[in-house]
C-alpha cells in the first residue's frame, strides 16, 4: 500500500543574523526514511514535534514533492499523480478542516460527493454507515461552525471516507478531543481497519491512540526512523522490565533474594511489594510461586511499561 525508500526532504531556512543580514541554511526535515505498509495494516507514525512526521505525510499525500527518494502510495507516485491518488486515499488533518465552515455537514458531504464523483448508491450506503457508527444524526443539518470539536472531527472522518479510500491517513486526529470523543473515534477507526480492511496510517502525540489502534509503530526523530516494529517487540527490546505488584495478607519486610528480581520497593507498611524483573530472566508465574512460598498472597497485578516510556527510552537511546 505504501512504499517508501530513502526518502529525503530539504528546506531552505532563512534566519536573521543581526539587524539586516540574513543567512540561508538547508535543513533536512526528512532524511533517508524507509518503510513499507501492507494493505490492511494499521501503523502509528510517532515522533516529537519537528521530527518530520507532517513533512512525511505531506509527501505521501502528494502535497509536497520529495527532494529525493522513492515513494509509492497505492502504486501511484504521489507528487506526479496527485489527483489520481486523491481519489484513492482519505486524509484527515486534526488541525485543519476540509469541511465548509458555514454549510451544514450534510451539504459539505454532498459537495465532496460531487468533487470525488462518488456513485449515488455507494455514497448513500457509506454515509448511512458513518452516520450510524459515528452518531452524526443529531447534527447533520448544523452548520460546521456551530459544531463542537468532537462533532466536527467525526464529520471530518466521514468526509474523508465518502469516496471509499483504500488508505486513510490521519494527522493528529484526536488532538484536543475530550476523552469520550477520543474513545468513540478510536473504536470507529479500529472497526474500519478490522472489518473493512482500510489501511490506516496515523501520526499522533497521544500514545493511547497507538495502543488502541496500531499493532505496529514507526518511530521517527530528527528526520530519521529510530525504530520500526510491533509495539510488543519494541517494548521487549527497549523496556524489558515488567513490574509485579503483590499485596500480601500480612506485612512483611523486603522480600530479598527472589530469583530474577532486579529491584524491589515496599509500600503500605510492608503490605504492597513492587518487584521489577526482566522477562528474559524469569516469568511472572515463576515469580508468583516463589513469593507464595514466603508469604500469603492477597492480590497481584503485572504492570507493563507505559508506551510513553517505551518511546522515551527510544529517544534516549540514540
Amino acid at each position: 500500500m505504501i512504499e517508501v525508500r530513502d526518502l529525503r526532504r530539504e528546506f531552505t531556512v532563512t534566519t536573521k543574523v543581526g539587524r539586516f543580514r540574513r543567512e540561508k541554511r538547508v535543513v533536512r526535515a526528512v532524511d533517508a526514511v524507509a518503510f513499507d505498509v501492507a494493505a490492511g495494516e494499521a501503523v502509528g507514525y510517532v515522533g516529537p514535534n519537528g521530527a518530520g512526521k507532517s513533512t512525511t505525510i505531506k509527501m505521501l499525500t502528494g502535497i509536497l514533492v520529495p527532494t529525493s527518494g522513492h515513494v509509492r502510495v497505492c502504486g501511484v507516485e504521489p507528487s506526479r499523480g496527485r489527483r489520481e491518488l486523491a481519489r484513492r486515499i482519505g486524509v484527515v488533518f486534526g488541525q485543519r478542516s476540509q469541511l465548509w465552515w458555514d454549510l451544514p455537514l450534510r451539504d459539505s458531504f454532498e459537495l465532496l460527493r460531487a468533487i470525488y464523483r462518488v456513485p449515488a448508491g455507494d455514497y448513500r450506503s457509506r454515509l448511512r454507515e458513518c452516520v450510524e457508527l459515528l452518531e452524526l444524526g443529531p447534527f447533520l443539518d448544523t452548520p460546521v461552525r456551530q459544531l463542537s470539536l468532537g462533532q466536527r472531527m467525526r464529520g471530518e472522518v466521514t468526509a474523508s471516507l465518502l469516496h471509499g479510500p483504500e488508505l486513510l491517513v490521519l494527522d493528529e486526529p484526536t488532538i484536543g478531543l475530550d476523552l469520550e470523543s477520543k474513545e468513540r473515534l478510536r473504536e470507529f477507526l479500529a472497526d474500519l481497519n478490522a472489518n473493512r480492511g482500510t489501511t490506516l496510517l496515523l501520526t499522533t502525540h497521544d500514545l493511547d491512540d497507538i495502543e488502541r489502534l496500531c499493532p505496529r509503530l514507526v518511530v521517527i526523530d530528527r528526520g530519521t526512523v529510530l525504530a520500526d516494529g510491533a509495539l510488543e517487540e519494541l517494548r521487549a527490546e527497549v523496556a524489558p522490565e515488567r513490574v509485579l505488584v503483590i499485596d500480601l495478607e500480612k506485612p512483611s519486610g523486603e522480600l530479598a533474594g527472589l530469583p530474577g528480581v532486579t529491584s524491589s520497593r515496599v509500600e503500605l507498611n510492608g503490605l504492597r511489594h513492587h518487584l521489577t524483573f526482566r522477562r528474559a530472566d524469569t516469568t511472572a508465574a515463576a515469580l508468583i510461586s516463589a513469593v507464595a512460598t514466603r508469604a500469603e498472597v492477597h492480590d497481584l497485578v503485572v504492570v507493563e511499561p507505559e508506551i510513553d516510556d517505551v518511546v522515551r527510552r527510544l529517544y534516549a537511546r540514540r
Partner: protein, 265 residues
Amino acid sequence: MAESVYAKLVGARLRGQMSYRASFLMQCLAQAVNQLAELAIILVLFNRVSALGGFSVSEVVLMYAIAGTAFGIADLVAGQLDELPTYIRTGTFDVLLLRPLSTLAQMMASDLHLRKVGRIAAGVGALVYALGHNDIAWSVSTAGLVVLAPISGAVIFSAIWVAANAVCFWVVDGQELANTVTYGSNAFTSYPATVFGPWLRRFFAFVVPGAFVAYYPALALLDRPDPLGGPALLGWISPLVAVAAAVLAGLVWRTAVRHYRGTGS
C-alpha cells in the same frame, strides 16, 4: 461532469452568504456605491475641465464603464485569490491539494462573493449610459466589440489577479504588492492611457496589459486614432490578448504551486 462540481461549489458558497440577508443587500449596495463613486469623481473633474488626456467626458465615461464592468466580473471570479495568503498560512491550501481537482479552479470557486454583482450592475448601467452618449457607428463589429470588450477585460484582469497573487507562494507578505498590480490596473484602466506618464503607461498598459481592457477597445468603438500612435488594429485584439494573458497566468500559477510543493526549489 466536472463543470457541475464547480457549479455546486459556487452554489454552496452562495447559500452560506445569503444567511444574513440585510447585510448582504447592504454589501451589494456598497459595491455599487464604490463603483459609482469612481464615476462621480470623473464627473467632478469634468465639472472643472472639458477634456482629460484629450478625451471628452462621455469618452472617458465609456472607458471607465468598460473597465469597471470588466473589473467587477474579474473581482467576482478571481477576487477570492486575495485570500491566498490566509489559505497558505492556515493550511487550507493543503486541503485543496488533497482533492482531485485543479487548485486554481477550487480557489476561484471557494468563496465567490455574490455581493460583487452590485459592482457589475453599476458598471453595466454606466456602460449603457456611455453608449448612448457617444457617437458610435453601429455595425455588427462594433456591437460585437461592446459585448466582447468587457469580457476580454474581465479575463485580462483575472489573469492579472492570478499571476500577481501567485507571488504569495514566494513572498509571505506579497499581498500588498499583488494589490498594487490588481487594483492599480483598475485605477489605470478607468482613464485614457494618455493621462499617464511614460513609465506608468509602459507598466500598466503593456507589462500588465491594462490598455487592452478599455482604452484600445474604446478607441475602436469611437473610431478615433490613438493619440499615442498605436495602430487601429489594437482596438480589436483584446480577446487575443486575453487568451494570451490567461495562458500565461495559468503557467505562472502552475510554476507557483510547483514551487510551493517543492519541485525545483
